[in-house]
């Protein structure tokens, strides 16, 4: 059986009465009220019951209605639309700054599902109620209370996007609607106002547009200005005088005017030059950038190398240790030197003491000799005096006794002659004593000279010994310093060297030569073991030839290559270019094991037999 829906006949209707005649049919029919509609059963104008989403058949209902219809009661059904509907209307309000603004109000209204029967209060005897009629009942009440009151609080330029204002209007609207139509079964679900552009906003928009236009013009001006500046920078104007310098040798003012008038200035566009300058600047920038990148990379590698433990810090530390060792050796040298000086001073003092003692002994002996001599002289003088007195006495005696004879002799020889003879004897005696004294003094000086000579010899010997010790110490110090320096250098280099290079450096070759040999070994060796083997042979050869520099090493290989070419050309064989130069070396055979050794070897490398001393 077909089911007929009971809905409002026009979508603009909110509610509508359906009389019994409209549903009274001859045949039995089934009706339903959809879920978004409400069916209100009325009897004698009084509400009986509300149906929402109800199903009923005319038959079933018919029997119920039959009694009712058969009686004196009037029965009808009102269908109400429960869906929310929107209503729009214009409002005009005045803002706080006295500007009239237009707005469009959107109201979302609905019949109150809780109290649907109250909608009857809005029907007022009509068979139907439109949505616009229901909404208009609110408009007049809310205009001043809601819109005017809310808008009067804000300025014209503050209404747009003002969420607080919208909330205020919606809240006030709901409150007023509840007050006005709440008991009529109508509720406000939502309300909002969209504002038209007011005068103030128009003015602001115009101003903003003008400012934008100004900014754009200024931007265009700046762009143009920069272009001009750039062009100015890259353009130089060169003025060439057609007139030669000699022509400028004017003689009077007229000539000057003529030259000025006749002078044609030629402007040469040097833009190309400017462009080149710009290109050069770009290139310079690129170079600087590359330099900076390379510097950063190098610093990074340096930092990485430092992090890897290679070894700048470590090497600095070792250098400090070496320097400290050198300082301590210097201190020990100073101490040793002072010790030697103390020994020398002590020995010198002893020698001086001995010398002073010898001097004292000599003086004492001199004094003793002098005393003895004085005593001898006194004794001699006394003896002489005795003799003289005796002689005087004798002379007196003899004088008395031989006065006559003396007088006779005096007369004969003269007294002066005899006196002269006595004086001569005295003088001879004095001369002998003086000679003796001179001889003693000479002997003393000789002894003294001999002692001084010995002391000088001893002093020279000590000086020589001290100097020799000092030299030996200096040599030792220098040797140690060189060894320490060599060790430090070897350490510094060793940290960066390969095993092949370490092998060569350990064998006494310089790092540069070691590097050359390693290059050759790597160039000719098939694998690592072969490279090491070849390296050993080359280092041995380099040592034999006393290769000390990189150039010598390269010359050695060049000679080896030439020799190899020569041998290959002559004999057709293949000779190792590195070892080809070995052929000319002088060798000696060990008498014990017959091993062939280099001629300069002191011992046989095979059995240790001594080959030469």
């Amino acid at each position: 059986m077909k089911t007929t829906q009971l809905v409002v006949s026009d979508p603009q209707y909110l509610a509508e009465f359906i009389g019994a005649d409209e549903i009274k049919t001859f045949f039995e029919q089934r009706y339903e009220v959809p879920p978004d509609h409400l069916g209100l059963l009325m009897r004698n104008g009084q509400f009986v019951q509300a149906y929402k989403g109800a199903h009923f058949s005319v038959g079933g209902l018919f029997h119920q209605l039959k009694g009712l219809i058969g009686g004196s009661s009037s029965v009808s059904i009102m269908i109400a639309d429960l869906k929310t509907f929107q209503h729009y209307y214009k409002v005009v309000a005045r803002t706080k700054d006295k500007v009239d603004i237009d707005g469009e109000v959107v109201l979302d209204l609905q019949i109150n599902p809780e109290k649907p029967q109250n909608i009857i209060g809005m029907m007022e005897g009509r068979r139907s109620l439109s949505k616009a009629d229901a909404a208009l009942r609110l408009k007049s009440h809310t205009w001043d209370r809601v819109f005017e009151a809310a808008i009067a609080r804000v300025n014209a330029n503050e209404v747009r996007g003002n969420k607080g204002l919208q909330d205020l209007i919606q809240g006030d609207l709901m409150k007023e609607c509840e007050r006005i139509a709440g008991d009529l079964g109508l509720i406000v679900r939502a309300a909002s106002v969209s504002w038209a552009l007011n005068e103030v906003e128009k003015a602001e928009a115009t101003r903003a547009a003008a400012e934008r236009e100004t900014s754009k013009l200024e931007f265009d001006f700046e762009t143009l200005k920069r272009d001009l500046e750039r062009e100015n920078i890259t353009t130089s104007v060169k003025m060439n005088y057609k007139t030669g310098i000699d022509k400028l040798e004017i003689e009077n003012e007229d000539d000057l005017k003529r030259v000025v008038l006749d002078n044609e200035l030629e402007f040469a566009d040097a833009r190309e030059t400017g462009a080149r300058i710009a290109e050069m600047k770009v290139l310079e920038h690129e170079i600087n950038k590359l330099k900076t990148e390379r510097l950063s990379k190098f610093q990074g590698e340096l930092q990485q190398a430092t992090h890897d433990g290679v070894d700048l810090k470590l090497i600095t530390e070792r250098r400090r240790v070496v320097e400290r060792n050198t300082e301590s050796l210097d201190r020990s040298h100073q101490l040793a030197l002072r010790g030697l000086e103390r020994d020398y001073d002590r020995e010198t003092r002893e020698l001086q003491r001995d010398e002073r003692r010898d001097d004292r002994d000599y003086d004492r002996e001199g004094r003793v000799l002098q005393r003895n001599e004085d005593r001898g002289n006194r004794l001699e003088d006394r003896e002489d005096e005795k003799v003289r007195r005796k002689e005087d006495r004798d002379y007196d005696y003899e004088t008395r006794d031989k006065n006559l004879n003396i007088q006779g002799k005096e007369r004969e020889y003269g007294f002066d002659t005899r006196k002269k003879e006595v004086d001569v004897g005295d003088k001879e005696e004095y001369a002998r004593i003086a000679r003796q004294r001179e001889q003693d003094k000479a002997a003393r000086d000789k002894i003294k000279d001999l002692q001084g000579l010995e002391m000088d010899i001893e002093r020279d010997r000590l000086d020589r010994r001290i100097k020799e010790a000092d030299k030996a110490h200096d040599r030792d110090m220098e040797q140690r310093r060189l060894e320490a320096q060599r060790e430090a250098d070897r350490l510094v280099l060793g940290a960066k060297m390969t095993p092949e290079q370490i092998l060569a450096v350990n064998a006494g070759l310089s790092p540069a030569v070691a590097k050359v040999l390693e290059e050759q070994a790597k160039a000719q060796g098939v694998d690592k073991a072969a490279q090491m083997d070849l390296m050993r042979q080359m280092v041995e050869q380099a040592n034999r030839q006393a290769v000390r520099s990189e150039e010598q090493a390269r010359a050695m290989f060049q000679a080896g290559m030439n020799g190899a070419v020569g041998v290959a050309a002559g004999a057709g064989g293949k000779v190792n270019p590195v070892l080809g130069i070995l052929a000319g070396d002088e060798t000696v055979e060990c008498p014990k094991c017959t091993r062939v050794n280099p001629a300069k070897a002191k011992f046989c490398v095979g059995c240790g037999e001594q080959l030469r001393k």
């Binding site: 070894d311 940290a495 064998a507 050993r536 040592n543 050794n597 002191k602 490398v605 240790g608």
Partner: protein
């Protein structure tokens, strides 16, 4: 400092020069035997009597920067140590043990969280002293054992260093704490946080004056310690505490006309190979050709076939004479058989190496050693039974 004193660089340059000749045994300049490092093929280094190669083994010990070396009496001290491997040929060192000794007290073993020390790398270790009760200067001795490996061989050495600590009077308990914030083996940054807790007036913390850098501690070879702890040399038996010198003279007896010349091990790989193969002098690879002879003095070909071409290799390792079994038949020393599973055999004084375990009477090598002042400088290897001098193949 270049490295441990007492070990390196006592080899003359002339020896290095003549060692370049592959088959050179003696230095042509000074006549000394050329004792090559076991890793000579890689390092090209020579060793002295102590067997330490200055190219391979170059450890360094540092006291890390900002380390505190002064403490109040009654306090303890934490020493941040840095072990560095300065070997320039990328050979790692293996630090196996570290001991610390305070004053005259006993040595205390420190448990190591790491072992491998790569060349150019450094590992850190924090050592804490006991409570330093007395005022004055205290000595701390740090000793460690390091090993270097080359294929199946290993050389072990011990190095020691001394450090002086100043203990001041007064103050309550002071703990100078160093916190190592890096992970084990990560090599990351280390943060030191010295903390002083004291109740008396602070006289100021004294940090080791190292110029903001780690201070290197001088290392010395601890040869006596090596011998006493068995790090090098024999730890038991008649030669307990004795160390075989790397330049020990090996005297061969009872090998008839094949008797090699006596002398130290001077081969390129510092190994003496013995086996059925020909000797080097006859164009082979062995140092000594070993064949079995019957009681009548004739060559026993069947038994000789049982000896491998390269049967055993003799070498000196960590101050001990060792044999590596390369022959398929193995060897027998006393009651112990050494074969493929137990290739390295330690040889003691008086041992007889039975070359053919199944026929112990056929060929044997009796080893006798002579020690002087704890150093074994002569090893006599006698063939058992001995061959008559006139016996020739």
């Amino acid at each position: 400092m270049a490295g441990p004193t007492g070990a390196p660089d006592r080899i003359s340059q002339c020896c290095y020069q003549h060692a370049l000749t592959k088959d050179a045994i003696f230095c042509g300049e000074c006549g000394k035997p050329l004792l090559r490092c076991m890793a000579y093929q890689e390092c090209g280094g020579l060793v002295g009597e102590d067997g330490c190669c200055s190219v391979c083994v170059r450890p360094q010990l540092f006291l890390d920067k900002d380390a505190v070396t002064d403490v109040k009496a009654g306090g303890v001290l934490v020493l941040p140590l840095v072990f560095y491997n300065a070997s320039s040929i990328a050979r790692p060192l293996f630090v196996t043990d570290v001991w610390v000794r305070e004053g005259d007290g006993p040595r205390r073993r420190i448990e190591l969280p790491w072992k491998r020390l790569d060349a150019g790398g450094s590992n850190r270790l924090t050592v804490q002293t006991g409570a330093l009760e007395r005022q004055g200067r205290h000595g701390i001795e740090i000793t460690f054992a390091a090993a270097t490996n080359y294929f199946m061989r290993e050389e072990r050495f011990a190095f020691t260093s001394s450090l002086g600590l100043e203990v001041e009077q007064g103050g309550s308990l002071v703990i100078n704490q160093t916190i190592n914030a890096s992970g084990v083996g990560s090599g990351g940054d280390t943060v030191y946080a010295p903390i002083r807790l004291e109740t008396m007036a602070d006289s100021g913390r004294k940090v080791a004056d190292t110029g903001g850098k780690a201070a290197e501690l001088g290392l010395q070879r601890a040869d006596n310690f090596e011998a006493s702890q068995g790090i090098r040399g024999y730890g038991d038996g008649a030669l307990k505490g004795s160390v075989v010198s790397r330049g020990a003279r090996i005297v061969w007896k009872g090998f008839g006309d094949q008797t090699p010349a006596a002398g130290p091990i001077t081969t390129g790989d510092s190994i003496l190979a013995i086996g059925r193969g020909k000797a080097v002098s006859e164009g082979g690879d062995n140092h000594l050709q070993l064949l079995a002879y019957g009681a009548d003095g004739k060559l026993d070909e069947q038994l000789s076939q049982a000896i491998s071409r390269r049967h055993i290799e003799l070498f000196i390792q960590s101050g001990r004479l060792c044999a590596r079994v390369t022959g398929s038949a193995g060897i027998k020393i006393g009651d112990h058989k050494h074969g493929a599973d137990d290739a390295i055999a330690l040889i003691n004084h008086g041992d007889i190496i039975n070359v053919l375990p199944k026929f112990p009477e056929a060929v044997g090598l009796q080893v006798r050693m002579r020690a002087n002042h704890g150093q074994i400088d002569e090893i006599t290897i006698t063939r058992v039974p001995a061959l008559p001098e006139a016996n020739s193949r």
